[in-house]
């Protein structure tokens, strides 16, 4: 069986002349500026973010009290569908407004090349929306793929992985926590300063580490957990869990994205195999913060047996386990993972062509030296450059300046990214979703990851997308030649 994974990214947004009180409305307008074909609205009845993996259901999710200052009476429109403006796109992705952030969820992928292309396609789609909105209102609209506003507000880049339901949740947490606490050594996007009260640091590996407060919880908006317990399978819940990883940064680097998701996917497979980590951290939440802020780059963390181990060696424990699994399709990840860990052990700054946190730090170091700045005195300037690294506009963003300069390794071609804007991966159910949107968008009345509700000429029905079809490409061809959605439903029922 193939793996399945995806990335959902909440983008930062600025609109000339608009403050944070306007961002929910502005984000909504950016999403509505999408000019391509789409289906919607979203079927929110199929989702339950308050359902906890530990077997209970919470009455409400924690809210960030600081964020309430930006709410204005009358700011919210009445219905969730009007507020969120969900669009299911031709490529099987989902585009919507998530409380002031344009959000792009990639379609489900089972190969890293497709995932990276679709993640980058998301940047281009949202940038195109921003440009359209800017042209309409005559003001600048900027989009940032990052996770912090440097004032204590964070927004997420989440990953999803398919894991067998038969694995006890306690084993998932036990085995996942040391990995998540330490993978920021190659997956961190880098951040100038700290946003945790009482903590000072010049530069840290992760944009998100400041915001994790507990080991596990169903919350995502406040008191965020290292391991999120939200139980929304988006598939057959009897067979699968969706591992919803919120402890990750938005990577501009294609390499960091591929290694982050590739390694985590292997760890998910490792956990499924019944493997037990020999390394248990004394406090995984404290560990991710320490690793993120440790400017010696030794990254030593305490284990529960009173000893200590480096983050590199924690990752090597998982790497060894993943190698022993000997899974098809894992060679790239295993080899790159090993090489990166070896380099991180000896000369981390030499990874500036691959890892975001290193590339950004190298860039800022050079600028500090060239402009005679000071890391302590010129924090505002350096945070502005940090933000500029994540500007998704290739004409303005510093990451894209590095790519233009030939200083950043890329993994997919421009043609692949352009294709991913309109074409879904052909080896997952996203292939069928995209084909249905292309042929029958006007007849769709509600969409979800699992299927559609439709109405056509007095007929109505629901379509469930098969989760494990033998040949998605063949099914897609049948959908493309179907006369109507009734035929599509029949095709998929017999698949």
């Amino acid at each position: 069986m193939n793996s399945l994974f995806g990335i959902e990214t909440e983008y930062g947004i600025t609109v000339e002349g608009a403050d944070a009180t306007h961002l929910v409305a502005e984000s909504r307008e950016v999403v509505k500026s999408y000019s391509g074909r789409y289906a919607g609205p979203w079927n929110y009845r199929a989702e339950d973010p308050r359902n906890d993996m530990r077997g209970f259901h919470v009455d409400k999710l924690s809210q960030d009290p600081t964020d309430a200052q930006f709410d204005k009476p009358g700011d919210r429109v009445q219905s969730p569908s009007e507020d969120r403006c969900d669009r299911v796109l031709l490529n099987g992705a989902r585009l919507y407004n998530d409380h002031g952030h344009p959000e792009y969820s990639t379609p489900e992928c089972n190969d890293l090349r497709s995932l990276v292309a679709h993640d980058k396609a998301g940047e281009r789609i949202i940038l195109e929306c921003a440009h359209a909105r800017a042209a309409t209102i005559g003001k600048t609209v900027d989009i940032f793929k990052n996770n912090t506003d440097f004032h204590g507000a964070s927004y997420g880049t989440h990953e999803s992985y398919l894991v067998l339901r038969s694995v006890p949740w306690s084993e998932v947490v036990q085995n996942l926590a040391p990995f998540l606490a330490t993978r920021i050594i190659y997956a961190g996007a880098g951040k100038v300063g700290s946003e945790e009260r009482g903590i000072t640091c010049k530069y840290q590996l992760s944009q998100r580490a400041d915001f994790f407060m507990v080991l596990q919880s169903v919350d995502t908006l406040h008191n965020r957990p290292l391991v999120n317990t939200r139980d929304e399978a988006h598939g057959d819940p009897r067979r699968f869990r969706r591992l919803h990883v919120i402890a990750g940064d938005a990577n501009m680097s294609e390499y960091s994205t591929a290694l982050r998701v590739g390694a985590t996917n292997l760890v998910a497979a490792l956990i499924e195999s019944g493997w037990q980590t020999p390394v248990v951290l004394k406090d995984a939440v404290r560990a991710i913060k320490h690793v993120s802020r440790d400017e010696t780059y030794k990254w030593m963390v305490d284990t529960d047996d009173g000893d200590s181990i480096s983050a590199v060696d924690v990752q090597r424990v998982y790497l060894r386990g993943a190698r022993e699994l000997n899974l098809p399709g894992s060679d790239w990840v295993l080899d790159e993972w090993e090489e990166v860990l070896n380099i991180l052990d000896n000369d981390p700054m030499s990874l500036s062509d691959r890892l975001d946190w290193v590339a950004k730090k190298s860039l800022l170091d050079e600028f500090v030296e060239a402009e005679e700045l000071d890391w302590t005195q010129d924090v505002a300037t350096l945070q502005s450059l940090d933000l500029a690294y994540h500007n998704v506009d290739p004409e303005a963003g510093l990451y894209y300046g590095l790519v233009d300069a030939g200083a950043m390794s890329t993994l997919v071609t421009d043609e692949e990214i352009e294709a991913a804007r309109c074409e879904p991966p052909l080896s997952t159910r996203a292939a069928l979703r995209g084909a249905i949107v292309r042929r029958f968008a006007p007849q769709i009345k509600a969409a979800s990851w699992g299927g559609f509700a439709w109405e056509d000429g007095g007929q109505r029905g629901v379509i469930a997308l098969p989760e494990a079809a033998e040949d998605y490409a063949a099914l897609r061809e049948k959908i493309e030649s179907a006369e109507n959605l009734s035929d599509v439903a029949a095709i998929l029922r017999t698949s």
Partner: protein, 63 residues
């Protein structure tokens, strides 16, 4: 600014094959193309960044 070292490292390409649980096929590598770094324009781009933009940058708390 000093040159970056991207062109010194030959990277293996990312395969397009599915990552599988037991039972699938593996894929092979090939070499990436990395342009010679020219960071002069990047320095100019950095100088054009508004040094106050982070102070003004306020976002809604997300997930």
């Amino acid at each position: 600014m000093n040159d970056f070292r991207a062109d010194e490292t030959m990277r293996r390409p990312l395969p397009a094959d599915p990552m599988q649980k037991p039972g699938g096929d593996d894929s092979g590598p090939s070499a990436p193309k990395v342009k010679k770094p020219d960071t002069r324009q990047l320095l100019d781009r950095m100088k054009r960044v508004d040094p106050e933009q982070a102070k003004r940058y306020r976002q809604r708390s997300g997930q």
